[in-house]
Structure formats: structure tokens, C-alpha cells
Symmetry: C2
Subunit: 223 residues, 2 copies
């Protein structure tokens, strides 16, 4: 696994909150491999648009997918630039002052121009990555995509070269006078994301067991 | 409280997944009042940018804040258009086919041109809304912002007139043949977000109690 540092361009250089900036590639991977949904932004008809969507990662490539009929996917397939954010919220930081209230988080923001994946093998690998990010084990358990389903699905590849990673995992950063005052509470209230119990589809045969790849996720923490 | 329906423009009309589209304003409010972080996108130097940030709502106005020095805030204060997404992920939908895998979610996407809030009373109300969304009770407990802190903070107001709301809360939507086949599991694995136990700041006096407004949140589900 590569440990090449991120190489920020002017666009991906963290300007606000520099001390939260992280420049190692492993942290980028760990955020992408913990999140489930990204926020895909692009410019459509001159206006910014942001869309929540699923994604997958293979090495230094992020894969996105969607209907070939979607205006956003069509624009990206034709060369529009994109910016993709994956944000994991870990807690709320209660400071002694309103001003220093904050959140603990892990954030990756990727800039680039996605390319439409034409090659059938790469397209399947991209779809597999998206499926396995969302539902590990499903690619082998579920019915594979048909040619018709594949034809209706566009897969885009976005290089992870240009990324900005920020992490805050710390107690409040209050001013000295507020700390010295000592009358106000401060601390972190963590936010946990956890998988619940599987809810079987009502149309399943009555004797269907929950398969291992789903069962083992239940009760586990996300990311 | 108004129950005026959302009035979609061409930009906010849901084109993909129309049956997930929701057009009542109460659902928009409920999503915004359950989320903690939004994704703010805009066009900077011709490229799309998306930034996770906090927000608050008062009536039909969404408030955003940030440093007066941030390039994104400056661009918006000067009239750049914005698109803001709040996404709540409720579970992964395991379908019998890879193609029908999905997520259960609540999504609000708002389009508009934010305005810089100059009026000091409205600015404080906006900051209060942002603080109270993140940390209810903190506005009254924590030290209020100083004039210097207020001068360093820009507050933007975004009208909620143009919004697209989508909700998926359903079992898998598999093809009939796959349901009839009956050999593959399908269902929903819910994802729960829950507040953990407060982690007091190490610099607090030893006898500091966790105040009620923090304590009562611990163990509760988000949204």
C-alpha cells in the first residue's frame, strides 16, 4: 500500500484551520473506507449542485455511479469538474465560549475531473467497489448486474491525487481567560454510528436466515 | 408554523427517483432540525467546491457562519450562488440484486443565493440558531460572543424557498423474478446515530458537574 503524501494544489491546500490539516494518504484512505455516502458537487447550468451519493475506492481511484439518464452524471461524463466530500462527524465540542464551539470530525474533500469508465472489466470493478463499500459481501451474495442493468448505469472514476484531509479529535480549544474562570462546563459529547438489527424483507420465504455478511455487521460501530 | 408546500423550480425539481420526492415543508424542517452538519457547495474560481459546515434554521431561513477571512464565505457574501445539502443516512438496503442495492435516507437540498447578515440583532439570532442546532442549551450556558469575535464571524442567510426533499424508508425494491427466486437474502440494516457519554475537558475544575443540557442528550438517538 502506498504511503505517498498528499500533494496539495492551491485548490486542495487547507487554508482555514491549518492545524487540522492532515497530509498523509493513509488518513485519506481510512476516511473514505469508513464513510458510506459522499457529497458530489459540480456546476450545472452555471449553478453549484451538491448530491449525496454512494461511492467506492480502489487504490487511488474513487468510483461513483448513477443512472446514465441523470443530468449530473451526463455533465461529469462530458468533462465537468467535480468536488467530492466525505464527512464523518465524531462529536460535538462544547466550549466555555459560544465562539469556540466546534465539532470533532474526519473530513476528506477531493477535487478533480472524473472520467467515464468504458472498459467493461474496470466498470465491473468500480461497481463492485461501490457495492462493497455500502454492503460488504453483497457482490458475491446478490444477483450480478445484467447487461441491461449495466447499460443503464454510468460509472465514473475520480483520481485521488488532489485531496484535502482535515481531522479534529480534541477537547475544546478555549481562551485562557475562559479556562481560568472555571464556571462554565466544557467537553466533548461523542456521536456514535452503529448498525442495528437486520430487518428482513417482508417478501422473503419464512425460513430465510440472515446471511453472515449481514449478521456480522449488526451492532458494530461504523468506521 | 407554516405548512406551505415546497415550490420547486426547474433546479429543485426532483428528476431522478421521483417517487422518493417529498413536497411538504414540514419534512424539510424535520430533516434540517435533525441534522448537525450540512454540505455547502459553491463555485470558486470556476470550479465546484463542497465544504462541510454547521448551520441553524429559523423559520424559512437557514443560517451559515464562518470566518470573515474564508474564501468561500467571502464569495458568498459577494453574491455567489450556493447549494446546501443535509443528508441523514438511516440504513443500507440489501437487495436480492446488486442493481437494487440502495440506502434509506432523508435528504434536503437547498438552492439559493445567501445574503450577508449585517443587522446585529439578526446576526446574533443566526449565530444562536447555529449554536443551538449543534449544542442545544449552549447559547445560554456558554460565554456570549465578544464584539471582536462577532467582527471575525460572517453570518449568511439562505432562504428555504427552493428546496428538494427526498426520503427513502422502505424495504428493497427488487424485480419480481428475483423475489420469486427466493434464494437470496434481502432486507434493511438500520444505521443508528446516538450520543455517547460526555467527555469533560481535562482543564475543568475537578468538581465540575456535567450540566443538564449536555447530560440529557447522552444516550439519545440523533434526529
Amino acid at each position: 500500500m502506498t504511503t505517498q503524501p498528499l500533494s496539495p494544489t492551491p485548490r486542495s491546500t487547507v487554508r482555514r484551520g491549518r492545524r487540522r490539516s492532515v497530509t498523509d494518504r493513509e488518513t485519506l484512505y481510512s476516511i473514505l473506507d469508513a464513510g458510506l455516502v459522499c457529497q458530489l458537487s459540480l456546476v450545472l447550468d452555471g449553478s453549484p449542485v451538491v448530491l449525496p451519493t454512494c461511492y467506492g475506492r480502489v487504490g487511488d481511484t474513487l468510483y461513483l455511479h448513477g443512472s446514465t439518464g441523470a443530468a449530473s452524471l451526463r455533465a461529469l461524463a462530458e468533462g465537468a469538474r467535480a468536488c467530492v466530500a466525505v464527512t464523518l462527524l465524531d462529536g460535538v465540542v462544547y466550549a466555555r465560549s459560544v465562539f469556540h464551539h466546534s465539532v470533532n470530525y474526519r473530513s476528506a474533500v477531493i477535487h478533480g475531473t472524473p472520467t467515464l469508465v468504458d472498459d467493461p472489466v474496470t466498470k465491473l470493478a468500480g461497481l463492485r467497489a461501490v457495492t462493497e463499500r455500502l454492503a460488504p459481501g453483497s457482490w458475491d451474495h446478490a444477483r450480478p448486474p445484467t447487461q441491461r442493468e449495466l447499460a443503464a448505469t454510468a460509472v465514473l472514476a475520480l483520481d485521488l491525487a488532489e485531496a484535502a484531509v482535515k481531522v479534529r479529535a480534541a477537547p475544546p480549544g478555549d481562551d485562557e481567560e475562559d479556562v481560568a474562570d472555571g464556571t462554565r462546563w466544557a467537553g466533548v459529547l461523542p456521536l456514535d454510528q452503529r448498525w442495528g438489527e437486520p430487518e428482513p424483507c417482508p417478501l422473503l420465504p419464512g425460513d430465510s436466515d440472515v446471511p453472515d455478511h449481514v449478521r456480522r455487521r449488526a451492532g458494530q460501530a461504523l468506521g
